[in-house]
Symmetry: C2
Subunit: 351 residues, 2 copies
């Protein structure tokens, strides 16, 4: 892969952190490979909405400073961000501002569900659930079918995600502190180790604009306790795995084409259709330790629940990360067959 076709930037912006990757432009050759990555801060929500624009600006500043030569030859920038639809007033304005950072570049802003999908299924139609601080599933062919499930944030959903696991863990710890539960002493001890005396937790949490991230920061402790057999922690991790499986299954829109496993990309010619083949699905994420945690409780429950789905599902290991998906999207922007936008998932500028 040469840089004759210039360079592309992919950004992945989530509740636990953000990353920007630089990769060679040109044809979308499958895995993003050979990309260089810089990390940035996590997204917050204030009264004016999500801080996505600020985090993007900061990451682009870092990219320009880190890779000054390549920056001058960047032809496409693609951003996948949590809350891009629900917490941004005008995504079109944001994507125009992104493009304006590099004269002549095209830009895309997508929900994190889209970049997770492009990373995990490498362009094939199907369903992908992205689990990190939040949890969102998207069943799509990036054409006519777009079924979104969850991704509603830590107060309305994000069922089974890091923030959900952390909240369940802290709620259980508080029940123990209050004397209304007796099975969560290990969770209480872990929470005190992480946050100090329970009386101080409200002030640490409610004054923050990244509460989901604070909650999610406790998920790894819950998983670690599940790994050593703590019953209350195992119960939470098992429930989380089941919730995420339900979210994934609900995203498998019956209109999605059933294609035989293997290659094929949504913008390439369709692979061999096979009416009897199960639709492909995958899991993405890992910003939070828990879903890929050491306990196995989450994964076991997830796999078992997906295995019970009717009709059956072909669960594939993820081909790449959401950051790979952002790079893939950036390359598609300058390809011969760029994607069309979607009013709830994908916003584009034209060259």
């Amino acid at each position: 892969m040469s840089s004759d076709a210039g360079w592309v930037l992919g950004l992945d912006i989530g509740g636990s952190g953000s990353r920007i990757a630089l990769a060679a432009g040109g044809a979308d050759s499958g895995h993003a490979g050979g990309m260089r990555v810089v990390h940035g801060s996590r997204v917050g929500i204030a009264s004016r909405g999500s801080s996505i624009p600020e985090v993007v600006d900061d990451l682009l500043d870092r990219a320009a400073a880190e890779w000054p030569e390549e920056w001058a030859a960047v032809g496409a920038i693609a951003v996948g961000a949590t809350g891009a639809f629900t917490l941004i007033d005008d995504p079109h304005e944001v994507v125009r501002a992104i493009a304006a950072r590099r004269s002549g570049a095209v830009a895309a802003l997508a929900t994190d569900a889209v970049t997770a999908h492009l990373g995990a299924l490498a362009g094939s139609p199907g369903a992908v659930v992205a689990v990190g601080t939040g949890s969102v599933a998207l069943g799509t062919d990036l054409g006519s079918v777009w079924r979104r499930v969850d991704g509603w944030g830590h107060l309305l959903g994000d069922r089974g995600a890091g923030s959900w696991i952390g909240r369940e863990g802290l709620e259980a710890a508080m029940r123990q502190r209050d004397g209304v539960a007796t099975d969560s002493s290990a969770l209480l001890a872990a929470a005190i180790e992480s946050f100090g005396a329970p009386e101080t937790w409200p002030a640490q949490l409610y004054t923050r604009n990244d509460r989901a991230g604070v909650l999610g920061s406790f998920a790894g402790r819950v998983d670690a306790l599940a790994a050593v057999g703590d019953a209350a922690a195992v119960r939470i991790m098992t429930a989380a795995g089941r919730e995420v499986a339900r979210t994934l299954v609900a995203a498998l829109d019956p209109r999605l084409p059933r294609i035989a496993s293997a290659v094929g990309g949504v913008f390439a010619a369709p692979a061999v259709p096979a009416a009897s083949a199960p639709p492909p699905a995958s899991v993405s994420g890992g910003a939070v330790a828990a879903p890929r945690g050491s306990s196995g409780a989450f994964t076991d429950a997830f796999t078992a629940a997906v295995g019970e789905a009717h009709p059956p599902i072909e669960l594939r290991p993820p081909a790449g990360t959401p950051l790979d998906g952002a790079i893939r999207l950036a390359r598609l922007l300058t390809s011969a067959n760029p994607p069309a936008g979607h009013p709830e998932h994908l916003w584009l500028t034209t060259p």
Copy 2:
């Protein structure tokens, strides 16, 4: 009761609204009776902490404007506020600022649990659970015993309160929208009626600094659906009633004196002790419609769960509201036997 002893002000500040009451000073004659009331805004939480000081200032401005003559003769101001301990950096500074508003006046800042207790049990030792947007129980004799349970806010606890009921209702509605639940169509329809399309809920909720209040605003709808027999809503209201009962029972510290029912005040000579008598307990609140809702599901579950407590509890109807309790506290400040402060519940200035 004359105004020879001057006037007192009581303030009740919660997640759904606030009130200030003016009453005659002098001896604490039981029920606050004859007080005049002005309403104010609800409390919010920003990055610098709770907005209690701003809400108090605003209420005192209103009082000075509404009752200019009495204002000049105010001798005591008592404030009961949600989050006074957990979300205020220095409660002493806040109480000094309150006293400074009226030269010569004494002031008290208390958690809402204290004013709820003083209102509901009229000064008797025992346990009171205050249920509104949040939920907190306090078992106290206002002397040596102070057992607090819950009151941790909508992400860590407030189990069974308005914000908890509203969150459960909206989560269920989102499950229905996502196709992972099929029993919550009435909740989904009610939520759409209240907040519009589900895709807009995150922006309406996460950009607010009074999220608990927004969640709590849906509790009345859940209760109304329970009243017409909607199974999902009945389940939520029943669970809420049980949670609040557990919170109350956990607050009944065994060191609390068991006194025969009837009169007696914690600062008066103790009433006849009776080792065999059950400790008195009560419920306060009602800022949210739900706990006193029309469905009966909450109350039935609460009463049944309290009835199962061992040792048994004497459940009394509340003698007064938290606002009555604030007035009672203000009168106590200027009495011959004023209360002592407590580092987590009650902060005082001296005359």
